[in-house]
Symmetry: C2
Subunit: 413 residues, 2 copies
């Protein structure tokens, strides 16, 4: 959590960190958001070890800047126009602006670099700074970096926010279920009782997007995939496809709200009935899910849980990534991932090299076993977002039933 | 446009370009989107000069990959598990994976780097590649880079997409106007005839978000700012604030749809009446807008238009950024910016150093003069998105009236 930052900086021998903010509006920048808490801001965050974080902000954004609670430093302290009058080259002028800023703020020694950037401009600026500030070392951490390490353990405020995002997400899923089950059967298809036309994935998606918006949420990339597409973990589903009774539907939704925090959940549905093959795969996935969740233990390394799920599936005749990589069918991915300000954060249940992840208090992560058979026209995935509590309990933030079959309730008139 | 890429690579003496894709779902990455056209994909784009662009994609995302029309190369051609078995260090294994990929694909010489990345992991990987591929030069362009130069000139398909985003955005603004004018006056405030309560900015925002969602659009950061907040160019507006008759409202909306392309428009409203001071400022802004648009000419440099607007405002008693920088009140920003896959693209009407921008055919950009007086409790901005056509006409993609006063139509009944 944020209160760990100074300790983490000491462990990494960092004198300061610089978190680049978005250069325009609308860019996702989770490391920056971690400091500004979802505010719409450009600028950058600079923190010296054992000192509070500063937000370098434009005068235009003073209101949003003050709301972050960070130490606010107006960027007008450094005058780009004066520098540009002296240094016509735009890059050289920007380098000089940063050099003045770092010098005035007393930034030196080993500086950790974080945030989302555009490769070219960032790298050009950095190369210029390296040349003009020879006493400074710019440190690039590849993974398990300082900010990720802090973000891994959510504090009480973050958990409260994520619980609320989870609650709203479940409401949206319920609204989609209510819409689907309002239909009535017409042969293989489902009829929308209002329009009297076949319900399509696009119709369901419209409900999902409307209900997300009504709750101040954004859900880019929602997966609502039927049949063969349900067997491809990242296929989104074709809007023009009509819903079909008995087919596997993988519904994976991972929205964020204005806080910037995400929820991630998946349900697999079959309308009215499930084929025996789908039901069997579903039972295997639910079995794996329940077994692994039961075994979660505070302080335990994560990799054995992935192995446990692979073993469970292999004993039931499925190929898994635990034995062979890559594979196209069976259990093709890992058990879950951290989430928070990103859908995928730096924490997981690895199939490949063990990265030393451990079930630490404050971790929030997805649990999502699945089985994928695109060649047979189906796939199954079940996913909840779990929070590892300091009392050793593992609590699902996804309060939603796990029923495969959705029974149609509509009538022809 | 995309057809310019090889010429632009030749001008920059680049043998290949690498466009980093998002490492997870949900990140904004306009340079990558320029190639994959809004598809939800991880992976990366590699293009050698005078060869078609390749998409290196995961097998999970084969459907989306094929829809992009790019040459598809499965990342399973390079086996990270085998490499990791030999090279336990995660960074070193990733560097080796990339080295193998670049070598197999025949990438060498001068390689331009583009796309949105996380600073630490990107820089660590790059430093590793520079050490392991000494024959390769990784080129960082600071601005007016290759991809931005291509993106500057929109092709017919892109203009058609942006016209549609503009049309939908105007519908959303109309819906917000219809909601506001459905109210009736109650002293200084406006009453929602359905709830019988004072309309708030949050109520209007709910309408905006609902109407955006209904059209498959996302509008993060929409500005609906009243009174003093209207005088701060980037203040979003407080949801809890009640609408007030006669006050300046700056409504700046810049949504994108599933294509990834943005529209950007601003209207300034006053409910029922405007104070004389606000009306005068509004007339100055409209005067500047109309004068500058009339003077647009194919091939003309952009900087003189900013000067023209500054002169116009100064003659009418306003301070401007043209004379003093930074300033807090008056005309505090520049006339406009390019837009497309980002709200702010690499094209503008500079107040500071001239960057050589010229009104080229295919440019799509905002025109947004404004006057800001937070200390007096108001601000004004008017913004349309313009397209520079090859026949020399400048066409607004924002088909929406520019009336200051919104007359309430509701009745207490």
């Amino acid at each position: 959590m944020q209160s760990d930052l100074d300790r983490l900086m000491t462990e990494r021998n960092l004198d300061a960190i610089v978190v680049e903010g978005p250069d325009g509006l609308g860019s996702a920048n989770p490391a920056f958001n971690y400091f500004v808490r979802g505010a719409h801001l450009t600028g950058l965050v600079i923190k010296k070890r054992n000192e509070p974080a500063m937000l370098i902000h434009s005068d235009w954004e003073v209101l949003q800047a003050q709301e972050t609670g960070l130490v606010c430093v107006s960027s007008s302290r450094w005058n780009l126009r004066d520098i540009a009058a002296r240094i016509p080259d735009r890059l050289a002028a920007r380098v000089e602006l940063r050099r003045q800023m770092y010098t005035d703020l007393g930034i030196s020694g080993r500086i950790g670099l974080y945030g989302t950037v555009q490769t070219g401009p960032f790298l050009a600026l950095l190369r210029g700074l390296e040349a003009s500030m020879p006493g400074v070392t710019f440190v690039a951490e590849f993974d398990k970096d300082l900010i990720s390490a802090a973000r891994l353990t959510k504090d009480a405020h973050e958990v409260a926010v994520m619980r609320e995002v989870g609650r709203k997400t479940c409401e949206v899923v319920q609204a989609a279920v209510d819409y689907i089950t309002s239909g009535y059967a017409d042969g293989a298809y489902v009829i929308d009782p209002t329009t009297k036309r076949q319900m399509t994935i696009g119709d369901v998606r419209a409900v999902i997007d409307r209900e997300l918006a009504a709750r101040g949420m954004v859900g880019e990339g929602t997966i609502f995939a039927q049949g063969r597409d349900a067997g491809l973990p990242h296929a989104r589903g074709e809007d023009s496809m009509a819903l079909q009774r008995g087919q596997a539907i993988v519904f994976d939704i991972f929205p964020k709200d204005a806080s910037g925090y995400y929820h991630d959940m998946t349900r697999t549905f079959a309308i009215d009935y499930a084929t025996p093959e789908l039901q069997a795969a579903y039972d295997h996935v639910m079995g794996a899910f329940n077994e692994v969740v039961q075994e979660f233990e505070l302080g335990a390394p994560t990799k054995p849980y992935q192995t446990m799920v692979c073993d469970y599936f292999e004993q039931r005749g499925h190929e898994t990534i635990g034995k062979k990589y890559p594979i196209e069918e069976g259990y093709v991915h890992s058990l879950g991932h951290g989430l928070g300000l990103e859908v995928h954060e730096d924490f997981g249940f690895p199939s490949l090299a063990d990265r030393g992840d451990v079930l630490v208090p404050g971790a929030v992560f997805s649990v999502e076993p699945g089985l994928y058979y695109p060649s047979k026209g189906y796939g199954v995935r079940i996913e909840d977002t779990y929070w590892c509590r300091s009392d050793g309990m593992f609590e699902s933030l996804t309060d939603f039933p796990k029923d495969l079959v959705l029974t149609l309730k509509g009538t022809r008139n």
